[in-house]
């Protein structure tokens, strides 16, 4: 049975600014629990999500990339054995201009039942709420004391 998590938000920004915020470490460190992505951002490049203290939390590769509108990552957790054991997931970022706004749709899915999907369902709303605050007000939300599971 497949599993998926979908989150949609609307941000007062441009697709280009949102794309930079999604891919550049100086932005992601502010809204993504201090994490950044280590990636060359070309199709087939390896992808790593790295925590503020240097731990490689997740790995994968770029499956599709079409700036500033679409990014698809192959994505596996590396630090929680029970999540890693379920193997790879797929995460799609779709960016669509709507007048003065951008619609951002994140779809994080797996072909079979996968524990990571429940875990990221807790994390994405926090990360994407903070991203929206950063782009609209210049300030990300304060980081919670503890990371959400996953």
């Amino acid at each position: 049975m497949s599993s998926n998590f979908v989150y949609v938000t609307y941000i007062r920004t441009t697709p280009e600014k949102l794309w930079d915020a999604l891919t550049k470490p100086e932005f992601t460190k502010q809204y993504w629990f201090g994490f950044h992505q280590d990636c060359e951002w070309t199709k087939g490049s390896s992808w790593k999500l790295v925590s503020g203290d240097g731990m490689v939390a997740d790995t994968g590769e770029v499956l599709e990339i079409d700036p500033p509108s679409r990014l698809v990552l192959k994505w596996r957790n590396e630090f929680r054995p029970e999540l890693k054991a379920d193997g790879y997931t797929r995460c799609t970022f779709a960016v669509e201009r709507l007048g003065e706004l951008v619609k951002l749709t994140i779809t994080h899915e797996a072909d079979d039942a996968h524990k990571m999907i429940a875990a990221v369902s807790q994390g994405w709303p926090q990360i994407l709420s903070s991203l929206k605050s950063l782009l609209e007000t210049g300030h990300a939300l304060p980081r919670p004391d503890t990371l959400p599971k996953g």
């Binding site: 609307y10 709507l98 706004l101 605050s133």
Partner: protein
């Protein structure tokens, strides 16, 4: 029992009191919720109506739970789309949890029926409204797309 359910979580830099007010006060809802307002006395058991700006009643129900500024729930039946009205009442629950200087807002809209058209409809509606509510509280300005009732609806 088979159910249809939509859950949306957002984190807003505000206080529970301001958010609880913004979710119910017509002055705020008209800005982030497509010019609609709720006609309600906000006590458990009070009738609840969502009013469309042209004077039509969009949805009706009653207050099922009310615990300011943490939580409220309303029963919610659509009144202007026959295929949705026929499904009967759904339930919408708003939960507010303070987390430092932000508030976690969870909106759960559900119905004891498989493949509900009402729940499918609100699943597309809540993300822009709640994104606009967040913008309104954090920047003072709601998103343009939610400031007017959509033409022809």
């Amino acid at each position: 029992m088979s159910t249809s359910k939509f859950v949306y979580v957002t984190y807003i830099r505000t206080t529970p009191e301001k958010l609880f007010d913004a979710l119910r006060n017509p002055e705020f809802t008209r800005q982030f919720w497509s010019e609609t307002w709720q006609d309600c006395e906000w006590k458990k058991g009070s009738p609840w109506k969502l009013m469309i700006p042209d004077g039509r009643i969009g949805d009706t129900g009653e207050v099922l739970e009310f615990d300011a500024p943490r939580r409220f729930a309303v029963s919610w039946q659509n009144e202007f789309k026959p295929e949705m009205k026929a499904e009967g009442p759904s339930r919408a629950t708003f939960e507010l949890e303070p987390m430092g200087d932000t508030v976690k807002l969870t909106v759960t809209h559900e119905m004891d029926r498989e493949n509900s058209k009402l729940i499918e409809g609100v699943s597309g509606g809540w993300p822009p409204l709640l994104a606009s509510l967040k913008s309104l509280l954090e920047t003072g300005d709601a998103l343009e797309m939610t400031k007017k009732w959509p033409e022809g609806v």
